[in-house]
């Protein structure tokens, strides 16, 4: 039996959910119970990672369509089905999710002391939600995961966050909800008005939509995703959420949740409404470039390390959006790769910030200085991660940034030039921060006594750094998996749609469905 014959996606997506419920059976009232909860959560997340690794192993790089597809009736009355699958665009993001989750659990080992069980349940539920979004091929399913994911994230910020956690959590929730509502309306329109009677995403992707109607539909989807990315000027929820969230929350938020926005643009908004996407491209590229420069400038003057990293995300995600809207192969492939790169580098940066915060209980840059003396190993990790983040060649960030920029240049030189200035600014804000935290004189008395990394922290950081080098030096395997899907995506978003007569007279969904399904299996 081939690997692809198992319902691996279902196992992978729902194992964390199952694990979360299983945690309810463990008492966490005493310390030993807490340890058992942590260990159990770690095991569930690791098995999930192994399943995703099996999927990676069984993934056929030369095939552009959906793989590991599972499909079953769910609510036929509304045309809702359980339809999941993945391609070269979602696969890297899935791996990123299953990879980061165990690391965050491991990091939280001593960080989280209150309501341990509840916390780990939230993390595991969150994982199911995120994975669900990446594999859903049905709008209804997608929306359930998309909204469901908000709740555990909201709780993680609101319960285990910093002093202004409630404000940040509510702000996060309202912003994203506001966006999702618009998307919901658009989805419902597609379902009822477009005359398909189905929520199946692949069916909708295969049906041209009248260019005259694409504009507002695209706007509704894109706005929802732009808030998530976040694209300038919808980014102001981000610094608050990041700063108040516990470290694990920030890692997941930056590492995966932000990619929901770029993924949504890529999977839904752009290919569903290609004509509108091309029309809006210039505006969105302008916002992306503003985000790149603006995020970097504001990051530069931050006094809180975590806030600096948060603003750097605004800048980095601007690159991803720019790549997608360049409508080029280099831009799209680089965009997907950069989503992963950002998850790794920024995830690692938040972990690192968490490590000094747990030692020193401050994140103000001015409280540090010279800690390279006390924590040499930590400093090495910090420097490598920061360099990966600012795109030093040989580390992960460079390949993505370079290909995105190359793609952007082939479409528009002014956008390319403006975005390239981000590399100078990134060097400034990151190195200046490193200088003031790690170097700049001898450490103060408190700082000179900080202990260096412990074994658990080593275990958390080493895999991330290995990935930074791997993706920087030999990205070929992953690029090879992204590229065919990016090619197919590009054909989809570049297709020209003439006016569609009447949407209701479009071919019957079932016929389209069966024909589209034929192409699914290799």
């Amino acid at each position: 039996m081939a690997l692809t014959d198992y319902p691996l996606i279902t196992w992978m997506v729902f194992l964390p959910l199952l694990g979360g419920f299983a945690l309810m059976l463990i008492q966490d009232s005493d310390e030993a119970g807490g340890q058992r909860v942590r260990a159990a959560a770690l095991i569930f997340s690791l098995i999930t990672f192994l399943i995703s690794a099996a999927i990676y192993y069984g993934f056929q790089a030369d095939f552009a369509g959906m793989q590991f597809v599972e499909r079953g009736q769910w609510i036929p009355r509304f045309g809702i089905s359980y339809h999941v699958g993945l391609d070269g665009i979602s696969l890297p993001l899935i791996l990123l999710t299953t990879f980061l989750t165990p690391l965050t659990i491991l990091f939280s080992w001593r960080d989280i002391k209150s309501r341990v069980r509840f916390y780990h349940m939230a993390l595991l539920f969150l994982e199911t939600g995120m994975l669900g979004v990446f594999v859903s091929l049905d709008f209804f399913l997608f929306y359930v995961f998309w909204e469901g994911m908000l709740i555990p994230m909201y709780l993680i910020i609101g319960v285990w966050g910093g002093t202004r956690r409630i404000y940040a959590a509510v702000k996060f929730f309202l912003y994203t909800m506001a966006g999702s509502v618009l998307m919901l309306v658009a989805i419902l329109w597609l379902h009822f008005e477009a005359g398909t009677g189905t929520f199946d995403i692949l069916v909708h992707l295969s049906r041209p939509i009248d260019p005259a109607l694409q504009g507002w539909l695209f706007a509704a989807f894109a706005l929802s995703f732009a808030i998530k990315v976040p694209l300038f000027p919808f980014h102001t929820w981000l610094p608050d959420a990041h700063v108040e969230a516990p470290t694990a929350g920030s890692v997941i938020l930056a590492g995966v949740l932000l990619k929901m926005g770029t993924y949504g643009l890529m999977r839904l908004a752009m290919p569903l409404f290609p004509t509108a996407a091309r029309e809006f491209a210039t505006i969105i590229m302008v916002l992306a470039v503003i985000g790149i420069i603006y995020g970097a400038l504001v990051a530069m003057v931050q006094q809180d390390i975590k806030k600096l990293v948060a603003y750097s995300s605004v800048s980095h995600l601007g690159f991803v959006v720019l790549g997608l809207f360049s409508f080029t192969l280099l831009g799209a492939t680089g965009g997907v790769l950069q989503m992963v790169n950002h998850g790794i580098s920024t995830g690692a940066l938040f972990l690192i910030v968490g490590m000094i915060y747990s030692r020193r209980h401050t994140r103000q840059i001015e409280d540090f200085g010279g800690i390279a003396r006390a924590m040499p190993v930590f400093s090495i990790f910090f420097v490598i991660t920061a360099l990966g983040s600012i795109g030093l060649p040989g580390l992960n960030g460079f390949v993505g940034e370079f290909t995105i920029l190359a793609g952007t240049f082939s479409r528009s030189i002014p956008f390319g030039v403006a975005a390239t200035s981000g590399v100078v600014l990134a060097a400034i804000y990151m190195l200046w921060m490193l200088q003031r935290v790690l170097f700049n004189g001898e450490p103060s008395r408190v700082n000179s006594r900080l202990p260096d990394l412990n074994f658990r922290e080593w275990v958390v950081l080493v895999p991330l750094v290995v990935l930074m080098f791997w993706l920087g030096l030999y990205p070929k395997p992953i690029l090879g998996k992204i590229e065919p899907s990016a090619q197919a995506w590009l054909r989809q978003v570049n297709r020209r749609v003439l006016r569609v007569e009447s949407p209701r007279k479009a071919p019957l969904p079932q016929a389209v469905l069966s024909s589209s399904l034929k192409g699914l299996r290799p």
Binding site: L155, Y167, V170, P239, F409, F439, L473
Partner: protein, 637 residues
């Protein structure tokens, strides 16, 4: 047979890993020997590569190594590919040869420093990246090395991070380099746009047919690439980081900020000379930038009193000569000067290091003097280097500088003004370098008695490299003797990489006159220095008093740093803070959410939840969501 390119490249990396794994435990001596042995091994491999190349017929002198496909996307492909041709062969020999000597020297200089293992790890990493830079067979691998050496420079300038000024200087170096890289990257993107590849062989091979000579795009590409070079090779307007880089340990200044890294820009332009030949405008800009830089920097070097800063400005000025040579199309002369400069400038820095070492860190020349007796080897070797840089026959600098001046006058891209700039620079060079020699090693000793009592010549591990470099500073120029047929071995060897020798218009008499003039200039400069700083001590000060404004202007380096700070750095900081405080936290936050209403809503909602019912609220939500799903599912029959 082992692949020589791989050997050259990976020996330094091997040294780095050994030290990373064992150096911390086994201590300074072990680390020093491992690092030095690794670079010496790389030097032997580079020699092997050189021998292999001359064994081949001139047009076939090219060894290749492709490790793997690095970035393959669709039709665009970049390989981790390397090549050894005459140009990169010369570069690898200089880098590993001078590099090995500096590694040995460092064992003495850094003795007892608590970060010495870290130091050698950085140093090996630097050599690895520098070799990557010169061996890469495409622009992107070159760029890997380019950024990598920048990183090592950052780390090594800020090596003594206990000093805030050192950290500041490291960051400044990296940021100014990145400004250059910004342009360089844009240049690369234009190349991709035109050629669809970054491979040297393809781009340079197709350039004459693909690009129209004198076209705007050719000029744009060249100027952008050159802007990258002005960052790395410290030319106007991006040179200001180099003098500050002297905060690093002195052997670092010798290796990175004199002999190797700063010449990367010169190497890159020489490598891409085919492109530059297509744009007369760009050539002219290159020559002008070189000429102006060499004059400005030399004039500043005349008045500095910190021994390392004099040498730093001297380096900027000498790099200006190389860039001038590139601009007038004398690529081989530029590389020739690059090599001889690596010898004598590394020697000068290491000599200065020897002085600083024996004076417990003193760098102020006004507090030195008369060290000749106590430091005979240092003094002797430094004087040789000074004669070489001043351009005295028959030392190395004479031949390379003469080659540049000759081309500046006679080349089709040259002109009398370029020659005049070079000649004026040569005069200043002779003056400032002998000012340094006289103030340091001769005259009255200005040290305190107790320092004088502790004066000592540096250990053998430091003086031997000085002597070796002194030998090279004397004889290094003899491979490029003009006039005599076949005596310009250097130019002949480089010809396959740099498009042949610009033979033909070498008129013997004219050439001899030119040589005599440049020798006369050098001797005049030395005489002036002698008169101002030995015969009539305080002669220099008298001139400073006569023109106080001019003196202060030059002493303060024409206030360029201050101008950058006032015009760029401070405004950017102010604007960024405004964006954050007023725009981000104020305007966007409130207007995106509907002029503050949204914020109030959040506040109100948050207050409701402050009371600790978060958990129950969450459960309510979960239940609600489940209820909706159940309702919809109920239709499932």
């Amino acid at each position: 047979m082992m692949n020589l390119i791989a050997l050259i490249l990976f020996l330094p990396l091997a040294g780095l890993f050994v030290n990373l794994l064992f150096g911390w435990k086994l201590g300074e001596k072990f680390a020093g020997w491992v690092a030095s042995a690794a670079i010496s091994g790389a030097f032997l491999a580079a020699m092997g590569g050189f021998v292999r190349l001359i064994g081949l017929p001139p047009e076939a002198r090219l060894l290749r190594l492709v490790l793997f496909e690095w970035i393959p996307i669709g039709g665009f492909q970049v390989n981790a590919g390397f090549m050894l041709d005459p140009l990169s062969s010369v570069m690898t020999l200089v880098i590993t040869g001078v590099g090995a000597l500096i590694h040995f020297y460092s064992m003495g200089y850094m003795h007892g420093d608590r970060g010495v293992v870290r130091y050698f790890i950085y140093l090996n990493l630097f050599v690895f990246f520098m070799l990557t830079l010169v061996l890469g067979d495409n622009f992107l691998v070159l760029f890997v090395g380019w950024e990598g050496v920048g990183l090592c420079s950052y780390l090594l300038i800020g090596f003594w991070f206990g000093r805030e000024s050192a950290c500041e200087a490291g960051k400044k170096a990296f940021v100014f380099n990145r400004v250059g890289d910004f342009c360089f990257l844009i240049g690369l993107f234009l190349i991709i746009g035109v050629f669809g590849t970054l491979d040297f062989a393809e781009v340079l091979g197709r350039a004459p047919t693909t690009l129209v000579a004198g076209s705007g795009i050719a000029t744009a590409i060249c100027l952008l690439l050159f802007a990258g070079a002005t960052g790395k090779s410290a030319q106007i307007p991006l040179y200001v980081w180099l003098p500050d880089a002297m905060e690093g340990p002195t052997p670092v200044s010798a290796l990175i900020h004199a002999a190797t890294m700063v010449t990367a820009g010169v190497y890159m332009v020489a490598r891409a000379y085919v492109l530059f030949e297509l744009s007369p405008v760009a050539m002219n800009v290159v020559a002008i930038v070189g000429a102006v830089t060499l004059l400005v920097a030399a004039s500043i070097a005349l008045v500095q009193t910190d021994i390392k800063r004099v040498l730093a400005y001297s380096t900027v000025s000498q790099l200006g000569y190389m860039v001038l040579a590139l601009g007038v199309g004398a690529y081989s002369a530029a590389i020739f000067h690059l090599m001889t400069h690596a010898f004598f400038k590394a020697l000068l820095f290491m000599g200065a290091g020897s002085v600083i070492h024996s004076l417990d860190g003193e760098q102020e020349m006004n507090k030195m003097g008369g060290l000749n007796a106590a430091l005979p080897v240092t003094s002797m070797t430094c004087t040789i280097a000074a004669l070489a840089i001043a351009g005295v026959f028959p030392l190395a600098g004479f031949f390379s500088k003469d080659a540049i001046l000759y081309s500046a006058m006679t080349s089709e891209h040259g002109g009398v003004l370029f020659w005049l700039a070079g000649a004026a620079g040569a005069l200043m060079t002779a003056i400032y370098i002998f000012r340094l020699i006289f103030k340091t090693f001769h005259g009255k000793c200005n040290l305190t008695m107790e320092t004088q009592a502790r004066l000592h010549e540096s250990p053998r591990v430091m003086t031997l490299p000085l002597q070796a470099l002194a030998g090279l500073s004397i004889a290094g120029g003899w491979v490029g003797i003009p006039l005599i047929p076949g005596a310009d071995i250097f130019g002949g060897f480089l010809a396959p990489s740099l498009g042949g020798l610009a033979e033909g218009h070498h008129e013997a008499l004219f050439e001899v006159i030119m040589m005599a003039i440049s020798l006369a200039i050098a001797l005049l400069g030395i005489y002036i220095a002698y008169k101002l700083f030995v015969r009539n001590v305080g002669g220099g000060a008298a001139y400073a008093e006569r023109w106080p404004r001019l003196y202060r202007l030059v002493l303060n380096k024409y206030y360029v740093d201050e101008a950058y700070d006032y015009m760029i750095i401070q405004p950017v900081k102010r604007i960024s803070t405004r964006l954050w405080k007023d725009f981000d936290d104020g305007f966007v936050d409130s207007s995106v959410g509907g002029v503050g209403g949204f914020v109030r809503l959040i506040g109100a909602a948050a207050r409701q939840l402050q009371t600790g019912y978060v958990k129950s609220y969450a459960i309510t939500m979960l239940v609600g969501a489940l209820a909706v799903i159940l309702y919809l599912t109920s239709g499932m029959k």
